[in-house]
Structure formats: C-alpha cells, structure tokens
C-alpha cells in the first residue's frame, strides 16, 4: 500500500476523483446562473420595460417573461441540487469502496504473515485498526479532491468579486488570512501529534482487553482481575487527557479563526468608510463588499475544516499503515505442492527452536515416529513436516501435487470453527472455488470485488472438488463423512445431537413424514405403547401432562420461534385477551403469586448471591424485591388490582411451572388442572390462526419440537427418567430398522455448534479434528500430541488411522522411544536439537542402515 494517503487515493480512484471534479466544475456555472437569475427577475422582468422580449425566437410579454425566468430559476436550482445529490452519492460509494479495499488489503496482508509473526499479532489491536480507525478515512477520501476544489472555487469567486470592487478594501478584507494561514497549521500540527498518541493509546487498550479475555482463566487464577481493570482504567484516563488537549487546541483554532473573521469587517468599515468619505468609493460598492465578505466566510470555514480533517485522516492513515510496513506483499498462495521422493520431506528447512536447518523425511506408506522430548520442538518439527514452513516450495516436498491432500497436521486440541459439524468436517476440502454459482447477486458481488481489488472468490460458490479429493461425487463425500463419524466413535454423540435438533420443514419434510410414521408405529405396537405410557407423558388433547410446563398444557402447543418461551408472551395482547376470554387469566396470576410466595419462603436464609436460586428458582434472584412488592400489593388489595405488567410478570412465572419437576402443590390437587383443561379449547381456538404458535397434533409433525420430542410426542416422565433406557433402545432399533438413523445423523451434522465448538468436550474435539483431517484423503497425516504412546488405545487409534489412510503415511510425535515402538521409520531429535533418522525402533539412536535419507543432520 502507498506510503501517503494521497498516493493511495490517487492510485486507486483517479478516475472517480476526476469524475467528481467534473461534476464540481459543472456545478459552478449553474451556481452562477442561480445567483444571476434572481437579479434578472427583479431588474429585468419585474422592474423592466421594453416588452415584448425576444427569447429564442419567441416573443414574450412581461408576465410570460417573468414565468419563463422563474421556470429557468427553478430548473437551475433543481439542476444544482441534482448535481449535489449525484455528487454525494458518488462520494459515499467511492468512500465505501476505498474503505473496503483498505480493509481487505490489510486483512490479506495479515493472513499472509509468516506464522511466527502472526502468533505475536494482537487480534484486538487489528480489529481496532481495521474496523474503527479506518472507517472515517473511507468517508473522507470520497471527496478528497472535490471538496477543496468546490469550496476553494467559491472562495476565489467571492474574492475576485471583492477585489473587483476596490483593491484596497479587498486587501483589507484579506489582511488577516495570511495570519490564519500561518498560525492554524502550527496548531494543527500539534493536534495531529496528539491524534497519533490517541490512536496508539486506544490500540494498547484494545490489546489489553483482548489479552484480559483471552487469558481470563489464568487472570482469575492469579487473582489479578483488579490489577487488569486498573490498567484499562488508567488507559481510559490517558485517553481522556489526550482528547482534552485535542479539544482545547481544536477550539483554540476555531477561536482564532472566528476572531480573525470578525476583525475583517472592522478593517472594511475603517478603510472602506475612509474611502467613502474621501469620495473614492460609493456606498453601494461598500455594501456589496460586505455582503460578499459574508459569503466568503462559509467556504473559508469549509476549507479550514477540510484542512483539519485532512491532517487528521492522513495522520490516522500513516499511523495504521506503519503497522503493516514490515508485511510487504504477501507471498502468493501455493497452488500445488512440490513433489518429492517421499511422503514428506524437509530439505535444509529452518525450524523454530532448532539450532540448524533440518533435513528429514517420512517414507511413503510408512509409519513414522518423531521422537523428541521437548513438546515445543516436536510440534515445530511436525508442523514444518506438514509444509507449514517458510519458503515451502524449496524446503519441503510431498508425495502428491494436490496441496490440500499432501499433508494434514492434526493437533491434540484442534480448533473447532463456528458453524455446524458439517462445515467443520468439510473445512479441509475448501481449497479453492471449483464451480461458480450463476445468479445476478453473484455477478454483482463479483463486479464489486473487481472494483475494490478483492478476489472474486465467493462463499456461495462450490468449493469442493470431489474428484480431486478422491471421491466419486459429493454424495460419496457425504457418505464418507458419516462413515468417519462412526469409525471414530462419534456416532452416538452425533445421534444425540441429531435427536435434539429441530428440522427445517421447508427442506426436510420427507424426513418429518417418516418420523411421524414412526410415532404412529410406536403407538400401534402393544409392547412399545405400554412402555411409552410408562415413560412418556404423552400429549393428549383431553388431559394434563404434569411433566410439561403449565403453558405447554394450557396452549397445547409451542411458540414457533426457538428463541422464545411462553413466558415471553405473557405480556402479549393477543395472548392476554385469549386467556381473559377463556376465564383463566386471574387464576394464572394467582398461580404465579402462589409460586412466588412458596419459592421465597423456601429460599429464606439463602444468601442473595447464591447460585442455588438461579438453578432452582423460577425467576432471577435480582427480581426478588420486585416480586415481593407484587406479593404485598396483591395481599393488601387482591390480585385483581395488580397492574397489567405485574399480572404479566406473575403469569410468565406460572407459564414456566412444571408440576412434576417442582412439586410445589400450587395446582391445588386437581382443581386448577381441571380449570386449565376446561379453558384449553377456548384458548386454542382464539390463537388458532396466530402464525407465532404451532399447536400439538398427534397426527402432525410439530415444527417447534426436536426430532426426539416428535418421536415420543411428549416429555419424559421425571420420575421414570432413570429407567427408560430399555424403551429408548427399542425405539433406537426401530429408527435404525426404518433407515432413519442416517437421516437423523445428517440432521445432527447440520446442527450449529456454539462459538468455537464450546459444547464439545476435549475428546469430541479431538475426534472432530481427526475426522476433518481424514476426510481430505491426505497422502500423509501428522499427529501432534495424540496417539503418541505405545499404550493399547493409542496403538489401536494409530491402527485405525493407518487403515483409514489407505496406504498413506502416518507420522506421529512421540515423547520417548517407547512411543516409537511400532514405527517403520524413526526421526529422533536429541536434547541439543540435533536430528537423526533411521528405520524402525530397533536401529538404535543413531542414523543407521537402510532408509536413511541424507544421513543425520547434525547442527
């Protein structure tokens, strides 16, 4: 990127800036016309004589002439504003495009940094620079040429006019501009220096915040939270101080400017008055000068502001770009892997933590162990062998030219990306787009990318080349994905995830139908139906399910939006009206009151900050005082006197109550249950057509329930939850029998994982990382930190991986010789970082016979 902002702007937007300039120049004559016309209308049309006038061979009377001039005036104003509109729009679009270009370019450079440098990059600082700091620059550079030209142009026009009236007065009017032009840049330079301080300060703060969150566990473990908060607090203070000084200077500049502007009329009056008295100037000209001078102030102010913004923005720009000076143009992405004689080979490659360049190899199709006691050096070597090394084309080679299949590095704690299990598993196949989707939106995105120097790669394109990845087609990839999930022992977990997810009814209606059939078969089978009655509180239109919430029972349905619970509708007008008309509103409020009363007395003596209440209560502990106030009010004046929001609050609490779980007896044996059941038909009828809710129907798949809930059609009975395994197993067998298991697994694969896969445990993450690697059909797999010993499970895992690799090489890091017992080839790193290699574990520690390639590499 260019060193100076102006160079950058010129390089990438010269054409657009010129267009802006032309638009600006076009506006000058129009402005002149719009100033000229009113004068004509008054002097010529209203006050004038000699009618009719000839205008473009038309003969016009006075009124017609007036109308014509007024129409022309209207047209001039419209044209002037139209140009302004086009100009503003163009400026905005240009600014946004330049901003996108700057942002993407910076991100591209960061992505291209060597890993060693990237590790020391603070994400917080980068985010701050790329998002917040660049934003105002984009806005500014849209009109970097047009603004000074248009404002400067107007300034010059007015100036010329004043000088034309009388040179001395003109000079008097100009007297203070040189003073301003000298003083203001001096002050502004100080402001610029402070702007740079401020940016550095904010960045430091971003880095601190980033670090505090990243290291939250250790920070709390060290009990240093207060210290870190003090650091940020101090940075905020420094920021305040810098800003304060900037304000002072900025307003000082404004003050100087204002005083100078107001001093000028003093000179005009003095000198102009003197000339008038002397008879060298008429009074009309003096008035004209004063008016022109007033008009001169606006463009001058704009010019000054432009100057301030300009110095601010170029300071920002330089301060951001300084951080990327070292980057230069990133190395272009490798397309093909360099092919060598071995599965993987390093030739004189520099590796972090090793005293000398390393040469070693892993033979094709062999089991290779890298024995190194030091975990960091081991990781560094394994990463280098996977091709994650500087100057890879010369230092590293693999067995296949297809880069993403050449080698895959699998750490013990792999990163799980935000998205679904599917997107995580297929991540390693997303090497480059292979087929463009063709739609107008895509074309538009492509064009925009071209305009801003971004690659045309689009996330909507097809990125997976099944053939190149070693599959017949995309279906085969899909099959292999589930196959790996099964072989690595993730299937049961995935099945559970699948059972818990909601189907997208627009895409998965056939599966929904099959699940509905399954529900029917369970009910029809005498054995299963008996078990279902025992373990499941089946939803039935005529009875109350104590294992479901009160609201599920009352409305006999669920909100369609998975984010919303019934309690969120307690304040909804349609819902309240339905409940009121069904005659249960007051009773619901009473249930809520009873619940709160009971809960508060149960938790009496529990500390306010206890998490007991959070886990077992029905409302947040912080709301206890508010709830107590409602209880008092209702005791004094009766529940009917509570206001709307208080009633809604109580109803919301009542909605969540599940009698089998809480057993608080607020249903008064069956009295209130009967009342709720009696109200159910009316409530259902009232909300029947409300698209926000989906009613339960024994003969329909429920869009808001999970797959499991749809199969069982009711909650598990709390009291039988520990014994329902046999029933579940029978149903699982039925699912399998009907070929639904695969479909449920696929639904599970599509389920979104939490941020960074937070829902997965360490073992699941590890399996996911391994599956993600194996699905690439790599010619070599490099295991760092897993399957590293000669224990039974590790051996079994290596055997499984070897099996799945189908003739590919397996390389694993081992901490000791024992871990290399099963290896065909061993690479050893001694305590001094010297690398030697030999075949098999028996050949001892030195490079020996056979498959030694290049001998030992003593460094």
């Amino acid at each position: 990127m260019a060193e100076k902002m102006t160079t950058f702007v010129w390089r990438h937007s010269a054409r657009d800036q010129m267009l802006m300039l032309v638009l600006t120049l076009c506006s000058f004559p129009i402005i002149w016309i719009s100033l000229e016309l009113p004068k004509r209308i008054i002097n010529d049309a209203i006050d004038g004589q000699d009618f009719p006038r000839e205008l473009w061979s038309f003969s016009l009377g006075q009124t017609d002439y007036l109308i014509a001039l007024c129409a022309a005036y209207l047209a001039a104003i419209t044209a002037n504003n139209a140009i302004k509109y086009v100009q503003n729009m163009h400026r905005g679009i240009l600014g946004e495009r330049m901003l996108r270009r700057m942002r993407f370019d910076l991100f591209r450079r960061v992505m291209g940094r060597p890993l060693s440098r990237l590790r020391s990059t603070s994400p917080g600082e980068l985010v701050q620079m790329i998002s917040a700091e660049l934003a105002p620059i984009g806005d500014f550079i849209g009109a970097i040429i047009a603004t000074p030209i248009s404002q400067g142009g107007s300034f010059l026009v007015y100036l010329a006019f004043i000088l034309a009236q009388n040179t001395y007065i003109g000079l008097a009017a100009l007297a203070l501009y040189p003073v301003q032009a000298w003083l203001i840049p001096k002050l502004q330079a100080k402001v610029v220096a402070m702007i740079r301080d401020r940016l550095a300060n904010i960045r430091a703060m971003a880095r601190e915040i980033d670090e505090s969150i990243d290291a939250a566990t250790e920070l709390r473990g060290l009990r240093a939270r207060r210290w870190h908060m003090a650091i940020v607090s101090r940075q905020l203070y420094d920021n305040y101080q810098i800003r304060r000084r900037i304000f002072i200077l900025k307003f000082l500049i404004k003050f100087v400017n204002n005083v100078a502007n107001h001093l000028t009329p003093f000179f005009i009056f003095l000198i102009g008055g003197y000339f008038v008295i002397q008879g060298k100037l008429n009074i009309g000209a003096l008035t004209a000068v004063l008016i022109a001078y007033k008009d001169l102030a606006a463009p001058w102010k704009e010019l000054l502001r432009f100057y301030q913004d300009y110095s601010d923005m170029s300071a920002r720009y330089t301060s951001i770009m300084e951080n990327f000076d070292e980057d230069g143009e990133p190395e272009s992405l490798l397309d093909r892997a360099p092919v060598g004689d071995h599965a993987l080979e390093l030739k004189e490659a520099p590796v972090d933590g090793f005293p000398a360049p390393v040469s070693c190899h892993a033979p094709k199709g062999a089991m290779t162990a890298v024995v190194c006691e030091d975990a960091n050096s081991r990781s560094a070597l394994l990463q280098a062998m996977s091709g994650l090394v500087d100057d890879a084309p010369r230092r590293w080679s693999a067995a296949t030219p297809v880069l993403y299949r050449a080698a895959v590095y699998v750490p013990a704690d792999p990163r799980v990306f935000t998205g679904s299990i599917r997107s995580n598993l297929l991540h390693g196949l997303m090497f480059q787009p292979v087929e463009r989707v063709d739609n107008p939106e895509r074309v538009l995105r492509g064009r925009e990318a071209q305009l801003t120097g971004a690659p045309e790669d689009d996330t909507e394109d097809n990125w997976i080349d099944a053939q190149e990845a070693g599959y017949d087609d995309l279906d085969a990839v899909e099959t292999r994905m589930l196959d790996l999930v099964r072989r690595l022992g993730m299937e049961d977990d995935l099945y559970m995830v699948g059972l818990g997810c909601r189907l997208d009814m627009t895409r998965q209606a056939p599966l929904a139908d099959k699940l509905l059939e399954l529900r029917g078969s369970i009910a029809a089978d005498p054995d299963l139906a008996e078990m279902r009655r025992d373990f499941i509180d089946v939803f039935d239109a005529d009875s109350y399910a104590p294992n479901a919430s009160l609201a599920d029972n009352l409305f006999f349905g669920l909100p369609r939006d998975p984010q919303l619970r019934w309690a969120d509708f307690a304040d909804d007008r349609a819902v309240q009206r339905a409940l009121d008309e069904a005659g249960v509103k007051v009773m619901l409020v009473e249930v809520g009151l009873d619940l709160c009363d009971t809960l508060i007395s149960l938790f009496e003596g529990v500390a306010a900050d206890s998490d007991l209440f959070k886990r077992y209560g029905l409302f947040p502990r912080a709301e206890t005082p508010a709830v107590e106030a409602i209880l008092r009010k209702s005791k004094q004046r009766g529940p009917a006197r509570l206001n709307r929001s208080e009633q809604a609050r109580m109803m919301g609490i009542a909605f969540s109550y599940c009698s089998a779980r809480y057993r608080l007896g607020v249903m008064r044996e069956s009295e209130r249950v009967e009342a709720l059941l009696a109200a159910r038909p009316a409530v259902r009828a009232a909300l029947k057509d409300d698209p926000r809710f989906a009613p339960f129907d024994a003969d329909a798949y429920h869009p808001a329930m999970s797959i499991a809930d749809n199969i069982f059609f009711g909650p598990t009975r709390v009291e039988r939850r520990d014994s329902w395994q046999p029933f579940k197993e029978k149903v699982d067998a039925l699912v399998e029998e009907r070929g639904l298991r695969g479909l449920i697994l696929r639904a599970g694969v599509d389920q979104r994982l939490g941020e960074n896969g937070i829902a997965l445990n360490a073992l699941q993450r590890r399996k996911l990382g391994l599956a993600r690697a194996l699905i690439k059909h790599p010619s070599a797999i490099v295991l760092d930190g897993l399957a590293m010993s000669d224990s039974g499970p590790d051996q079994a895992l290596r055997a499984l991986i070897r099996d799945e690799m189908d003739g590919g090489a397996v390389i694993w890091g081992a901490a000791s010789e024992q871990g290399a017992a099963q290896a065909d080839h061993v690479i050893r790193v001694d305590a001094n970082g010297h690398v030697s290699q030999g075949c098999g574990p028996a050949s001892g520690s030195d490079a020996g016979s056979g498959g030694v390639d290049g001998g030992s590499d003593a460094g």
Partner: protein, 157 residues
C-alpha cells in the same frame, strides 16, 4: 406444609438428623422424584454417577458382585439413603441396588447438594458428624471382625 412426607423421611435418616427442617424442605424441593418398578436397577456397581437417593416408600436389595458371583448383602427400606458415597466422593458405585416391588425415591444431584452445603455450612457439619459416627461404627466392627478372625486363626493353629 409442603414436602411434609419428604421432610419426615429425611429427618429419620441419620445423615440429616440434626439439620433444621427448613433446610430439609429446601433439600426436598431440590430433589427429583424417581420411581422404579420391581426388578429395575437404580444404580449399578462400578458405574460412575453422582446422585444419591432417599427411599420414600418400598424396598430395595443391595447386591455386591465379587469374583463373578453376586449376592444380596442388605435390604434397604423407607427413609434410607444410598449412593451418598458416590455423590460426595465421585467414586464408582460400590454396589448394585435393585427395586423389590414398587420403589419411590427422591434423587439428589451432586451439584445441587454441594451448592446447598456451601450455602449452609452448619448442614455440612451435621452431615460430617453423622458420617464420622458411621465410620467409627464401621471401624469398630472391622476391629471386632479382625479380632474374631485372628482368634479363629490362633485357635485353628
């Protein structure tokens, strides 16, 4: 009074004897109903699980498997608690418990129990007192058995 039956049952168990009834009421609220039919297993020996059970009604057999054979070593009845070892110490279950006839229990999760103990330390003191008494009894029993067996051995020699 809510949870009366549960609180009564809890009060009869040695572990909760000295604990304030209002705390027991909260404990009962935090528990969950679990019902088992004749022959169903409540806990399995060797399994890791972290909940304890209070028998509200019915009976259960305690079965210990050793060397391939299993035998009933005790029978539990109303107001008896089992599984508390696994709950407090996170050890695998030391025995299997099987319902004989319809069995109603109240289940306590480790997490909730620990929170409650943190909240009311006096409850923890009461519980440790009763556990210590039990340990003392067991130790004495063991000593008696050892004395008995050594007496047997010496008499046999």
């Amino acid at each position: 009074m809510k949870f009366e039956a549960e609180v009564n049952a809890l009060q009869r168990t040695p572990m909760f004897q000295g604990v304030d009834p209002s705390r027991l009421r909260l404990l009962a609220f935090m528990g969950e109903d679990r019902t088992f039919r004749d022959g169903e297993l409540i806990v399995r020996q060797g399994e890791t699980s972290d909940s304890a059970y209070l028998i509200l009604s019915g009976k259960a057999d305690v079965i210990v498997e050793f060397g391939g054979s299993s035998s009933v070593v005790a029978q539990l009845g109303q107001s008896e608690v089992f599984g508390e070892m696994a709950m407090l110490c996170e050890t695998p279950r030391t025995a299997t418990v099987r319902a004989t006839g319809e069995l109603r229990t109240l289940l306590f999760e480790r997490e909730g129990m620990l929170r409650l103990l943190r909240e009311f330390p006096e409850m923890a003191i009461e519980m440790s007192r009763s556990l210590a008494q039990r340990l003392e009894r067991t130790t004495m029993e063991l000593a008696r058995m050892r004395a008995g067996s050594s007496a047997d051995a010496s008499s046999g020699a």
